[in-house]
Structure formats: structure tokens, C-alpha cells
Symmetry: D2
Subunit: 375 residues, 4 copies
Amino acid sequence: MLRYLTAGESHGICLTAILEGMPAGLPLAASFIDEELRRRQLGYGRGARMTSVETDRVQILAGLRGGKTIGSPLTLQVPNRDTSIDKLPVVTRPRPGHADLSGALKYNHEDVRNILERASARETAARVAVGAVAKRFLQEFGVTVFSHVVRMGGVQANVEKLTHAQIRKKAEVSPLRCADAKAEAKMIALIDKAKAAGDTLGGAIEIVATDLPVGLGSHVQWDRKLDARVSAGLMAIQAIKAVEIGAGTKVSVLFGSQLHDQIFHSKQKGFYRKTCRAGGIEGGMTVGGPIVVRIHMKPLSTLRKPMMSVDLKTKKPFAATVERSDVSAVPAAGVVGEAVVAFHLADAFLEKFGGDSLTETRRNFRGFLSQVENF
Amino acid sequence: MLRYLTAGESHGICLTAILEGMPAGLPLAASFIDEELRRRQLGYGRGARMTSVETDRVQILAGLRGGKTIGSPLTLQVPNRDTSIDKLPVVTRPRPGHADLSGALKYNHEDVRNILERASARETAARVAVGAVAKRFLQEFGVTVFSHVVRMGGVQANVEKLTHAQIRKKAEVSPLRCADAKAEAKMIALIDKAKAAGDTLGGAIEIVATDLPVGLGSHVQWDRKLDARVSAGLMAIQAIKAVEIGAGTKVSVLFGSQLHDQIFHSKQKGFYRKTCRAGGIEGGMTVGGPIVVRIHMKPLSTLRKPMMSVDLKTKKPFAATVERSDVSAVPAAGVVGEAVVAFHLADAFLEKFGGDSLTETRRNFRGFLSQVENF
Amino acid sequence: MLRYLTAGESHGICLTAILEGMPAGLPLAASFIDEELRRRQLGYGRGARMTSVETDRVQILAGLRGGKTIGSPLTLQVPNRDTSIDKLPVVTRPRPGHADLSGALKYNHEDVRNILERASARETAARVAVGAVAKRFLQEFGVTVFSHVVRMGGVQANVEKLTHAQIRKKAEVSPLRCADAKAEAKMIALIDKAKAAGDTLGGAIEIVATDLPVGLGSHVQWDRKLDARVSAGLMAIQAIKAVEIGAGTKVSVLFGSQLHDQIFHSKQKGFYRKTCRAGGIEGGMTVGGPIVVRIHMKPLSTLRKPMMSVDLKTKKPFAATVERSDVSAVPAAGVVGEAVVAFHLADAFLEKFGGDSLTETRRNFRGFLSQVENF
Amino acid sequence: MLRYLTAGESHGICLTAILEGMPAGLPLAASFIDEELRRRQLGYGRGARMTSVETDRVQILAGLRGGKTIGSPLTLQVPNRDTSIDKLPVVTRPRPGHADLSGALKYNHEDVRNILERASARETAARVAVGAVAKRFLQEFGVTVFSHVVRMGGVQANVEKLTHAQIRKKAEVSPLRCADAKAEAKMIALIDKAKAAGDTLGGAIEIVATDLPVGLGSHVQWDRKLDARVSAGLMAIQAIKAVEIGAGTKVSVLFGSQLHDQIFHSKQKGFYRKTCRAGGIEGGMTVGGPIVVRIHMKPLSTLRKPMMSVDLKTKKPFAATVERSDVSAVPAAGVVGEAVVAFHLADAFLEKFGGDSLTETRRNFRGFLSQVENF
């Protein structure tokens, strides 16, 4: 069982995650996590704040020795550059689209800052750190997790003719993490247009994990289904309003004969599919091979165009204020999505294969692969 | 904390759920649950099996006395009519789109029946029973949960001009649980066409819960967000491949200024919204009022049109066999979706308001409403 | 991960447990569980009710096919013979030593029966059924779990010169589950004396699990320690007021040099201990070999000797009524304790070794044994 | 729901805990936690290391603003003074009584330091910090948690004639946290004797929580019983080998008529007991008033007197080395025990009363008290 908790506010001292359940013996460098944190800070459409030279760096405060995990919980801490939380002014004006109003009423706070500081997407830095460890673990078993932007505004990327390896490579060097250069150009134009109009933009991201073994997750109970677990994690990312597995919303349009992934077998590959419309998950379990999920992020809720809200104290209407000037954080959300998917895959992986050391987990993993091969 | 486990196979003796955490003193009749079980069995597009006269009936074997919950766990049991599981033939031919293949390899079963019997959507009868209890509980607080079909194949229902009360009323008397009679006629034609072609159809369902208090769920930790919890439950329903909250996938198309629900206030209503594009959840918490989610169900995986698969024993290809002849179970999935949403709302409700008796939970609830009113 | 919920009232229709997480392929007969249920009903000191000819029988309603587990949750149901719960009279007189008063106030029940029916030790039949499955699982790995009575009233059993195998054998044929015949005779005399006086007796039971591998449980987090988990389960048995691991309360008397189990090594045995004063658990993990725990059960709370209490309705004092006439249920509590220990061991076992089929779990287990052997 | 994870090694950079679920609005000062950390470091029998001038100090890195909790998770961090973990020598010699051997074999570590650094009782500093927050919370409801040493070696404290308030006061100023000065003198003599002999001593501690409301915990499911939850927490403290509730192990000696706490009622007090032999918990629930538990700590496992063990590498026997020179840490274990009890009480408290702000929890609490008063 893999589990984690995060803590930390946007302008507090730091973000912290405790991650427990990683086997001992996994080589893990802070630089590996830092690279994921850096990827999270990238992306066309961010304001000056995020793209500044200073990037997040993790401190691994527990669970690691001599560059390897030792089996005890990992403390991952990301210091904030701006730690002025106690000096920042009281906020009484909740912003539409944020946790502000509901949070203030629920937790009985007159100062909305007590909500927005924690509800901020800044928290995802901690989840990216956790996911980086999961990615590192999955690497040992040949699993790669990546993301690419597939839609922004009305612009749709077309990657049908690309392999996963190609998509990944293209996305990784693209300012928008988009593998379709033509679409990307249009998306960038749209971002610029939104920026000029003081507006914001959302987008859709596809997250892919490759080379998974068959049988992660389970059909036996609702909360053990892999798609359910991954969906919970993804929907818990700030601003995500839809999660699709494989063909996703298109399944309500197609006929059955157009949709289901037929099953094939060869000596070399064993059982396999030629299509991935189920997104690599059937009956709550991986079918083996890649899984493909998509998330839809809403436009940032803070925009220069005024939106009506009500002051908590005076109950008077006002035009909601701008706290930040990013137009879009869609590429970043993709990196967070990767982290989330990686975590849940590692969790399902350890649930199935057990093991307290990398040696043991690997031995169990290989034993199962042989079993499947000789089925 | 509300929790449940279900057990039972499709052709086993019965389905069973244990539900724990309901406060004492809730009036609960088996007939109330039976009505939900009956609704689950309805819907144009089912084969003869489901629409037969005999309907599911629950047995409440624990937790109830004198027609009221007593605080101890509820055992909800739904006997199967066909209990021939031990006599049914061995299945070695996994069907595409089902848990069959992954499950057989994971659990090391030569007989796929050991997987398909549990992976079957028959299991949702237990979840509907659990959800019925949650619905009954929510009723006490004025919360209603209902569903309606919004898409089948390429046909989209248009309910923009209807209130939630109107949608609910229309859907409840519609053979497809669709509130748009014109669209429904086209959907039915499509179902008939698919039936003739030996094909199957999926669809999309909207689930609405009305009159919720502000502040269910929380922004403070990823797994406490209400949208994350509801999404997990919904994605865990058999054949669901996408979950949308509010505007859902459209958030990746719209500009921020078009999307966010502005905030208003009046003496009578307190804080309120005129739109519901966030689906009633911001920052992982209810904003107060309705929540709206949508799920997309894939076409049934068993169709008369042959699909290619491979025999587990011989490793020879074959054209996948038909086990059932339904064209669609979309309306039924809506009823399951209601159950799942109701469960997670009741869970979040009890998490916030606590209470071991209905009296206590109600007192705590009212206290909070006053607090919000006087905020 | 192994988990279970139980439901059911003492005079309700049945007790039910859902147990999830057992690998597929485990041979399991209802008769195996029935034998444990039978053992739970034995023991000198019970009244006529328990020792009547009719014994509990389990119905396995899900999760089993062709005599083997299939990986899906097991429904274990034990029908009650007396199902008159709805006709039984209102109880307004809480008994000292029971859940009666606290439960009635907490759950706001005017009728204490709504509490006592669930709080009754009758519920342990469900836990014994769950534990029987765990025992069956552990058998596959050579682990045996048994119990014997070590104290009743002031009488202490002396088994210092017996091996675990001898203790087990003697206890199993003893009317009191006591391996020291001399002590047992005195205990029986004490029971008879208590019976004559209308009084009740508690006792202490030792529970032993043999032949465990090293490394079940973990030191890394408080709630993963095996001793913590086992203690929670044991203290949750009705009437248990103390749990000891190994030397238990004696550790607060002895010097360190008298207590700790020194470590030895031989080619044949690997690392081993000659003593078991730590009870086989150090740092929250099994050391390999047996574990030994002890539980202390209070005398039954319902006795013919009157105890003062207060009527809930009239608030008038009264002398508490007798609901049952057993003098002691200590041997039965031992059987429940075995079940609880077996469950937590199986849980820790599956946490470490993973596996969805017995084949897979066994392969992983053997791999680890080799690893330890070649350490 | 209250939950926490801790992380950190004995000679690592720091210990960290994330605690989630505390309502907003609770006044909390680092100095309050520091005082508990200081109490944990006291006690006659510690070596020079622990009683050095420098004491632990907590850093609250998240969840607090303006001196009050804001509802988001708290990060509690205690820096270590000695952070040389990466430079410390390899350990291949497991010490009897420690996690050393089992942990090394389980996690496949050639260097036992990778186990002992986390298994160390140093980790309890994090749990004391967590418990301090829980204590602070309980204070708001008039609940006090304290501990006192009741046995060391063969010396038993006698506090029968003292009230809880008196015991607390005396223990707090005693070098051994013992309320019986005569017994304490003998205990100190015993410690000195053990020290001279190079030996170590364990002891027993009583932990008391006063003024609890009725109805915390529940009888309805095994893992919701308060005694089970508290026992798990206590047994998870390093070196604890027995947990007793109320009369504890004595329940296996006494007759029922001698044991059970009779029930009384008066207008002023409502229902009450004159005795506390059940330790304030019946049927897994508080009866109202104090709860009393006892834990037994084994002598420290590292002693100057040699104990036999085996080198992991050479497999040669050796006389186990001394890593520390404390004779006893019993008073400190009492402070840890207080923390653990406070956590589980606060958890059960929030489970029953809910609430996201102190205002709300208090309102719910008072509502229940009125309900009980007017029962």
C-alpha cells in the first residue's frame, strides 16, 4: 500500500508531502524530482511569476540514505520563495470559480485567505514530488508516464499518426507540451488573444502510461478499480472538471462494434490489442500495454475581465479582483496529471506484487510475467 | 464515516452489501429500496431477461428494527433468480470490452466464468440498494437525487429550457429516462436499428442532486475533495468511461469569462449563483444548491455482431460469443449513478455534520445552516 | 489488503460478514468454517443455550466456486436460531458492564435492545467465520493458530514444560481449552462455585501462531506495526480488557538482561531465538517462528447476583436483570482470539507477499524465503 | 476524521508529521507543543544525551495562521541536533529486542542502520507533537490527558487514595513522573542499581483522560471501538508489550460481582459511576467521565551487559554492542502515551461531533450534552 498526505499553503513556508510504502533499495535523486518540478513550472501562457529563473527544488528530509530509499516514509519538502502568508492582507472578496466562498462558509473564516492559500494549485508541487518518486519506481519496471496537450479553446491537436514515443518526444520540447505543431501555433495565438482580452483559457491533456503489465487494479470491489482510483486522483487536481478513459465521452456516440478492442494472440506478444479505445483498462484492470486518460481543465478562475461577486463582510456586490495574470496553466496540469497517474499505478503495482525491497518486488513481478507468458 | 462493501456473483445465490455508518432513527422501508431496484431494471433496449415480470427485492437482514435504522450496520441482500453458477459451463473465450481476459490472467483462472460472474453489472443491484439508503437519508435534509439520459449514439437531448423538477418528472415516466421526448424518439429508433444490426449502444446520463448545503467535501487534501470521491464512485460503475462535473469537457473550449459562475447575494437566498457551470462544486466543495455530473457509458460489450478474440486454452482466434442480447442499459446506469452520487453525498454529509442519531445529525445540520445564514 | 465488515444482531435473522482480498484458488469448505463455529460454542461454564445440540453453520453466499475462492469477496452468513428481535420486549434498564447505557445515550435510543442486540458477543460468530478463512489461508503456508486458557479467577495454568504442539493437543480436548489438567480441575471447581453464587468469572487466554516467516508487519509507521494491529483486533473482542504480547505485563518487572531474546544462527535454522519473551514481534515485525499473545476477559456482565443500575425512563434505581446465565465464556473468547490473530496475520502476509492467486502468493512467499536463507 | 503520518530518522535532518482533520479556529502555539516535547525528554534514568540543555522545538510549517488552525493540514517538524545519518558507520550487528534483525531481513538491508534509524524511539517526538495538538483541541472541551508511572521493576506505586487531580499534580513535579514519593524513591534506587550493573529497566504507566462525554467510539464494528483504537496506538509505541483498560489483567482474576461499575443517577450528575474498573469504556464507547489505561514498557534493549547476537555478514556470534546508555525511558513513554490517547480521543470526538470550525464542533458538542441531559 502506497499512501501520502500533503500540507502547505501557497505563501507559507513550504509544501510538504509524506509518502509511505515505497520499497527499500530504489535509487532516487533529488534532481530527478526537481526535473519534474521544473516541468510543472513551464508552459506558454504563464505570467512572469512562474517562468522566473528561480525554480522549485525539493528537499528529501527522510526515507533516503546513500541515494536509495530505505523503506521508511519519505519526507519531500518544497520551500516557497514567497513566505509572506502572515503579512498578506485580509481577503473578504471571494472569486468565482475558486474554493473561496464555499471554504470560508464551511470553515467559518472571515478572511478568505485562510482558504485560498491551501486551495491554490501551488499545492500540486507536492503532488508532483510524490508522483516523481512513483515515476522513478515505475521506471524500474519499464513503465513511462507522459502527457501532452490535446485541446485548448476550440483548437484540437491531431496526433493520430504518431506513436506514443513520437508524441512524447514532440511534447517534451514544445512550449505548450503539444505534439501537433500546427495546432500548437493556433493555441498560442488563442492564448495571446485571451491575454489581450484579459481572459483565460482551459484545455485538455492526454496522459499516457506505457508498457504496463496486465492485471493492475481489480474488478472485485468498486474502490479497487484502477479507473476509479485514477479518476479520483485526477479530478482532485485543481480546475479539472472531466476525466476520460480511452475513447471517453465518445463511447456514448459509437456503436459497440466500433468501439471494443478486439483480442489477438501471438507467440511473441502473448495476448494483445491493436486498438486502445478502452484506454487500456477493462473491468477496472489494466489489459497490458499502455493506458490512456484525458483530463479537461477549466480556464483559470482569476482573470482581468471582471466577474461579479459579493463581499463577505459588506454583502455588497463587486467586480472580482485579479490575483494572478496567467492565461493558462494547461501544460503544467499535464505534468500534475502524470504525477497522479504514476502514483496510482505504483500503488496498484505494489498492491499486486507486494515486496519490501526493490529486489523482492522485481522478483515477484517477473514471476507473474512468466506465469502470464505460460498461461 | 459511511462505508460499504458488496459481494456476490451474477448467477450466485445473492448479492449482499454491508453498509455502515448510518445514524440511528432513520425510517427505512424495504419497499423504498425495492423501488430503486425496480427502476434499475427498467429502460428501453433491455432484452427479455431484465424486463421480465419478476423484479429484484431486497432483504434487510440487519441494522433495522421497527422500521428504523438502529445505528448498527445494515445487511442488504438481493437474492438472484438464477443461481446456477456451479452448473454453468466453463468459459475459455474472453470477450473484448469485458474484465474477462485481464481477470483470468490476474487471478490465474482457466475458467473465465470465475471473473465474469463478479465483474457483471449485476453487482450494481447491491450498489443501488446501498444508494437507496443514502437517498432516504438525504431526503430527510431535503436533498433529491435523480438522473436523465442526455445522449445516445449521436442523439443529444435538449433540456435547456426545463427546470430540474421538470426534467425529473419527465425522465421518470420516459421509457429511456430521457426528458426530451423528441430526442427520445430518435434514440429509440437508433436502438431499434442497433438491435436489428446485432449491435449495441452507449449513452450519456446526467445526474443531479438538488438543495445541498454549502461545504460538503473539502479542499484540504486530495482525497477529501467531493468531485474526486464522486468521480471514483461513478467511474467504478461498469462500462463508464468518462465523468464530467458541470460543464465538463466543455471547460477546455470556453474562455474563463464564459465559464465561471458569478456570485450573488440576497437577504432571502444568502449567497447564490445564477448558473451552474461548475456543476455545484468548487475547490472540492459544494457551493450550495444543486450538483450536476455526467457519465458516459460504453455500448454493451456483448453483441451479436462478431468480435475477434482468442481462446485461452487453444490460443486460437474465434468470433466472440453472445451472452446477452440487451442493446443498451443506459437508463439503468443512470439509476446506478444516482445511487453512487447519493452514497458519496451522504458520506460527505456525515463527515461534516457527524451525529449518531437522526436527531443529532439534524440538529448539527440546522446549527450550521444558521451559522451560514448569519455569516 | 484484506478487509472485512460484519453486520447482524443477536436475535436478528443472521450474522453476515463480507471478507475481501483473499487470493483466488484457495480450497475452502463450509465445514472448515463450521468446525471453528462449533469450537466457539464449546466450553465449560456456558448455560444451556450455547451447549444445545444445534450449532452454528455458515452459508458461503459469494466468492466461492467449485470449492475454491475465486478472488471476489466472500459473503459468510450465519443464520440465527432465535430471530425474534422484533417481538422482544423493550429494555429500559441498562446493565453495568455492557454497552447498554453509553449506546442508548449515544444513539438516542429509548429501547436499550437496539444497542445490546448488536453489542452482544453473538457478533463474534461472524468474526470467527472470517478468521476461519484466514486460518485456512495460513495453513497453506504452514502456519497454525491455536489458543488455550491460562488463567481463570485466581487459578493459573502451568504449561512451561510443554511444547506448543503439546499445549495445542491438550487444549483441544479439554472442556475449558486448558492444557494443564490440574489447574483445569480447580478452574472448573471455581466455575461451579461462581455458578452456585450466581456470579461470573473471567479469564486469560494465550493465543499462539506458529511457523511464521520473518518480516510480517513493519516498523515504518505506527499503524503498520503488527502488534498494534493484532492488539486492536483483540481489544475489539467483547469483554477483553487487556492484551499482552510475549512477556506482556511482566516486562515492567524484569531487567533488560532477563528479557530480551538473544539471537542465534545455524546453517539449518538460519537466524533463530531460543526464547520467545518478545512474543515473536520486535519493532512491529515478526521475528520468524511463533508469536504469542495473551488476552484477559472480564467476567460476563450479566449475573444473577444483583448489580445496581438506573431505569432510563423512570430514572429510578433497580437491581440489574439477568439476560443469560452463563458463568464464563473464556474458552470461546480464545477461539475468537484465534480468529482475530489469524485475520491480522493473513492481512500482513498479503501486504508483504501480494498475489491474486494462491499460486502467485506462494511463489512470492518462497522467493522471499530463499532470499532470507541466502541473506 | 483525524489522521496523521510521521516520517524521519533518528539521525536524519528532522522528524515530520502531517496531521489532517483539525477544525479551523483552534488557537495553537508552538510553545504548547514544545512543552510536550520537553516533557518527553525528561525522566530519571536517561543518559546524558537526553537530558542535555538543548531540547526539541517544533516548527509549524503549515496549517496555522495568526496563531490559529485554518482547517488545512498541519506540518509539524522537529529538527534533529545530530544529523549525521549519512556519515554514521555501517551496522551489521543486530541487537536483540530491536527491529534490527527482522527489519534487515524484510527490507533486504545489509546495513542495519537503515532500519534502526527509523525504528528508534526518536520517532515518538513526532507523535508527541501530533498528540499535543490533539491535547490542545481536547482542552477546549474540558478534557485533560495525563500520565504517571505506576511500576518499575518490582516496585509498585500506590495512588489509591489520591484523586486524579492530585496524581497529576504530583506526577508532574516528580523526576520519574510517579505520584507515590515512597515508591519513587525505591524506583530510583532500582534504576541506580541497574545502572551500576549495566542493565536496563522497564515500567508501567497509567494514562488518564478526564471529563469525557459519553459515547465516543462505537460498538457497531470492531474497528470503531475506542478501546481497540487506543490499544493500537499504544501498542505501536516503541517497547510497549501490554495494554490494559481499567482493571486490565485483573479482570481475569475477579468475580463479576466484584468488577462491574454499577450505574447511578442524580439530577446534578445525570448517569454516573462511583468506580472506574472498566476504565471508562464499555462496549467500545466512553461511559462519560475519565478513561484509564495502562501500558507496560520493556527495558531498553541496549544495555551494557552483553547479549548474544549474530553478525549479519559473517554469521558469527558476538556480544551485542551498546548504542545508548539510558537505563529507562519509562516517564517519557508516559508522555508519548498521553499523546497517543489524546489523538485517538480527538479522532473519536470529531467522528461523533463533526464540524469544520471550533465554533461548529463546540455547538454540536453542546447540543449533544443537552440531549443527554434531557434524555
